[in-house]
């Protein structure tokens, strides 16, 4: 394995030898994340860590800007040919780390591989094919009008088809995606991105070096070498920054925000995030939850603002819906509705004045303060006579319980992979349907076919204004129905030394565009 990587690095060095290193890239950045990428194969897993790697060593066709707009990357321009077809023009003269040049055959290779990938195939389901027009023009075709085509194109990071084709010395397919065990792609990488991987010790450290032939000559980035160390323990990560051991850390735990603010050498950047934290109320397990009045009572009993202020220390944005601001479905009129009197009143109307007992489950190491949130919610429910039997579990044990929907109320956090509202509904509130994946995480067994139909309609509506209206209506109806109890969107935080200008490269998706990072 090491030999292979070494040989690969060696060949890279040879390939790039004649070209002078870009003059301004001279700085070194030491960064610490809570985890390092699980694999170098960006199609093996859909996770935050892998997407961060994708943005370092690869480039997408288009990428999100800070204000959730699209910015051309490897695709220079695009136009709708008809309702179901989008034509892209590929940037010319882009080189892979291996020295190969990017053409549409690499895009096709990548598209086919995404369709194979267990983790990505769901996102690419609406696509029916790819048409190669010439070396730099291609079309993406969907089976129905697809409003999220560009959202999805942010997941297409072209792979070097030549590099990933053929067989390794021991006769394995280089392009194979393997979930476990060693594949060629999980240990070797060739993309078009700003950084090449020069060494990697899984779980210990990873080194990147600026790719000398990087196509984006306008990028202000001046970091030549990046050393990524995973530091899982929050306190240690913060200490590493404060002691000057590293230049950039993420995530920053809420308990240490003040400590970093006070430190004169460090800078803190926070942002309201897009990951919603919510409780489901299981209607199949608890008869009372079938009654909308009881669900509303629970919604009135939970004090989102209190949780955000006291437990999250202001490090969260209280939520009354799934879609965060900036998403099409975000409905400004929906506000948290904490009102205990009203809640008690509703319980009385529903005939549950004396309350009932339920079980509640929450993870204790998955989301920020997840177990404390659950404890607070349990205490709040006691005020409307709902007695809660709370159980918190480490995430490894929690998810199997969640899959079995074994608690009456269960906590989950969700981030929409497509950065679009519909993704929330499809996974969290759709009627559960085995096979299609709809409602896969709907641990409340809430089911309203009308809402599902409305979302389905929105999903083939390419007129943004119309689609926005539909999705906002969905939020309104879910709110009125109290289909679930939204709590807050978890904020994001990063911290760096003062001379590391992270603010411009950060975004709400939490993929810092490190290629553009400037270190003074």
């Amino acid at each position: 394995m090491k030999k292979l990587l070494a040989a690969f690095i060696g060949s890279l060095a040879l390939a790039s030898a004649p070209v002078a290193l870009s003059a301004e890239a001279t700085k070194e950045l030491k960064m610490a994340y809570d985890a390092d990428p699980v694999t170098l194969d960006i199609h093996e897993q859909l996770s935050g860590g892998i997407l961060q790697l994708s943005h370092m060593s690869f480039d997408p066709l288009v990428r999100w800007t800070k204000d959730l707009d699209f910015e051309p990357r490897l695709a220079e321009s695009w136009e709708r040919v008809d309702e179901n077809t989008m034509r892209f023009k590929l940037r010319e003269g882009v080189k892979f780390h291996s020295g190969n040049e990017l053409t549409t055959k690499d895009v096709k290779f990548t598209y086919d591989r995404l369709k194979e990938s267990q983790d990505f195939k769901a996102i690419f389901k609406p696509f029916s094919g790819i048409n190669i027009i010439d070396d730099y023009t291609f079309e993406l075709v969907t089976s129905e009008p697809f409003p999220l085509l560009l959202n999805t194109a942010t997941y297409i990071f072209p792979l070097d088809s030549e590099f990933y084709s053929g067989e390794t010395e021991d006769g394995k397919m280089k392009g194979a995606i393997l979930k476990h065990g060693n594949s060629f792609a999980s240990g070797n990488l060739s993309g078009t991105g700003p950084y090449k991987v020069t060494s990697r010790q899984q779980g210990v450290r990873m080194e990147f070096e600026r790719f000398a032939n990087y196509w984006d000559e306008e990028s202000p980035g001046n970091v030549k070498k990046i050393v990524l160390t995973p530091i899982k323990e929050n306190n240690t990560r913060v200490s590493a920054l404060l002691s000057g051991g590293v230049d950039f850390i993420a995530p920053v735990p809420p308990t240490d925000l003040d400590r970093i603010k006070r430190d004169k050498n460090s800078e803190l950047v926070t942002m309201s995030g897009t990951r919603i934290i919510l409780f489901h109320m299981n209607q199949d397990r608890v008869e009372a939850f079938k009654n909308p009045k009881v669900r509303q009572a629970v919604a009135y009993a939970i004090n989102q603002e209190g949780i955000a202020a006291k437990i999250m220390k202001g490090f969260a944005t209280p939520a009354a819906q799934l879609s965060p601001a900036g998403y099409q479905g975000y409905n400004e009129s929906l506000k948290p509705r904490y009102d205990v009197k009203k809640a008690q009143q509703l319980m009385k109307e529903a005939g549950y004045e004396d309350g009932f007992t339920i079980t509640m489950m929450a993870p204790n190491n998955r989301y920020v303060n997840d177990d404390k949130i659950a404890q607070a919610a349990a205490a709040m429910l006691a005020r409307i006579n709902i007695k809660v039997d709370l159980k918190t579990l480490p995430k490894a044990q929690y998810w199997p319980e969640f899959d079995n929907r074994s608690g009456d109320m269960m906590l989950i956090g969700w981030h929409a992979d497509t950065e679009d509202s519909a993704n929330f509904y499809e996974f969290l509130t759709f009627c559960t349907e085995a096979g299609s994946g709809a409602g896969q995480y709907n641990a409340g067994n809430y089911c309203n076919p009308e809402i599902d139909a409305l979302v389905a309609k929105a999903n083939v509506e390419t007129d943004i204004a119309k689609r926005t209206a539909m999705l906002q209506e969905v939020e309104q109806r879910l709110y009125d129905d109290a289909a679930f109890i939204p709590l807050h969107w978890q904020d994001l935080a990063w911290a760096s030394k003062k001379n590391v200008k992270i603010e411009p490269i950060l975004n709400v998706m939490n993929f810092p565009y490190l290629g553009d990072l400037v270190v003074e």
Partner: protein
């Protein structure tokens, strides 16, 4: 000697068999390894297919037999997370842990013997009382707290402003109590020297040694008070014994009595406890390694648990079991050397 070793090896096999059975039996409680392997939006069908592929749907007995069949040939399976044989993964992480343990053991040995002996010979001296007091405090502070305090003082640095800054003495006191920090607070550093196999050592470079200091001191802080107290107590007891009194009566120099005759017998139980504790340290570096992001087996094990990386968990437990058996065997052998009256099994009296 041979019979003794044979007996120990068969014990080791038994221990590892029992550990593997227990580890297998509890694996259901460790969670679902798939959760760490696939994204949230992967469908149930895809998960089911992967589970089938990994053999997770077979009954526990079938899974165990498959595991045992391979284990006999020295193959403890592949780690889900690392995608490599578990023994390779452990071999890559073990040197870091061993260096930590060696460093901590050196600190313990160099400090506990002189302090313990001194406290036994001069129990009334204020310095001895001071040491004993500090060791009581030390034994009751949990290791992660020690580690965090050490990081704050020596890595980040503290600025003390308790005393008036406008007076000379206040400034001096503030300055004396403040620290600059600067010690590495995580990891092993960039400058490791390759020794052999998977062993890259931090003992041979300044940067590597700097990285070792805080973790080793933290790890030593739990065991050091224990050893000081043990040595002191043993030594005091030995000093009361007849042969020491006789030696005194005979007019031997007190240095000779204390350091040759008494110390030798004092060390007997210390070796036993020490040997066992080294094994314990290897197994329980978990906390220290977590706080310092020390890439050793303790941290690896902890992460394997959060990821439900069951093959790695099972392999780690078996390796630790083996380490315990080996250290105990070595202790028995050394004990035989120090105290010739002790007989190993099978040796004729």
């Amino acid at each position: 000697m041979l019979a003794f070793l044979v007996q120990r090896i068969s014990q080791a096999v038994l221990v590892m068999f029992v550990i593997s059975v227990i580890a297998f039996a509890i694996q259901d409680g460790l969670g679902d390894p798939l959760q760490e392997m696939v994204g949230m939006s992967v469908s149930m069908e895809e998960r089911e297919a992967l589970r089938e592929e990994l053999g997770l749907n077979d009954s526990m007995v079938v899974q165990y037999l498959r595991f045992a069949g391979k284990a006999i040939q020295g193959d403890l399976g592949n780690s889900y997370f690392y995608g490599k044989p578990t023994l390779t993964v452990i071999a890559e992480h073990l040197p870091a842990t061993l260096e930590l343990v060696i460093g901590a053991s050196l600190i313990i040995m160099l400090l506990s013997v002189p302090i313990g002996v001194y406290a036994a010979i001069r129990p009334q001296a204020w310095l001895a009382k001071f040491f004993m007091g500090v060791s009581t405090v030390g034994i009751s502070i949990p290791v992660f707290l020690t580690a965090i305090v050490l990081i704050q003082i020596y890595s980040i640095g503290i600025t003390v402003e308790w005393f008036p800054v406008d007076s000379g003495w206040g400034q001096w006191l503030n300055g004396a109590l403040s620290t600059d920090g600067g010690m590495p607070s995580y990891g092993r550093g960039d400058d490791l020297k390759h020794l052999f196999g998977t062993w890259n050592s931090g003992f041979f470079s300044e940067l590597g040694l700097m990285h070792l200091v805080l973790p080793c001191v933290s790890l030593a802080s739990i065991m050091l008070p224990l050893f000081i107290r043990l040595i002191r107590a043993e030594m005091m007891e030995v000093l009361q014994s007849d042969y020491i009194r006789y030696a005194r009566a005979k007019g031997l120099s007190s240095a000779r009595i204390n350091f040759l005759h008494a110390l030798k017998n004092t060390m007997l139980p210390v070796i036993t406890v020490g040997g066992v504790q080294v094994g314990v340290m290897v197994a329980y570096t978990i906390l220290t390694e977590t706080v310092f992001q020390w890439p050793g087996v303790g941290l690896m094990f902890l992460e394997a648990i959060t990821r439900s990386d069951i093959p790695l968990i099972v392999a780690y437990l078996m390796v630790v079991g083996l380490i315990f058996v080996i250290t105990n065997t070595l202790v028995d052998l050394v004990y035989g050397l120090v105290n010739p009256t002790v007989k190993l099994t099978g040796k004729k009296a």
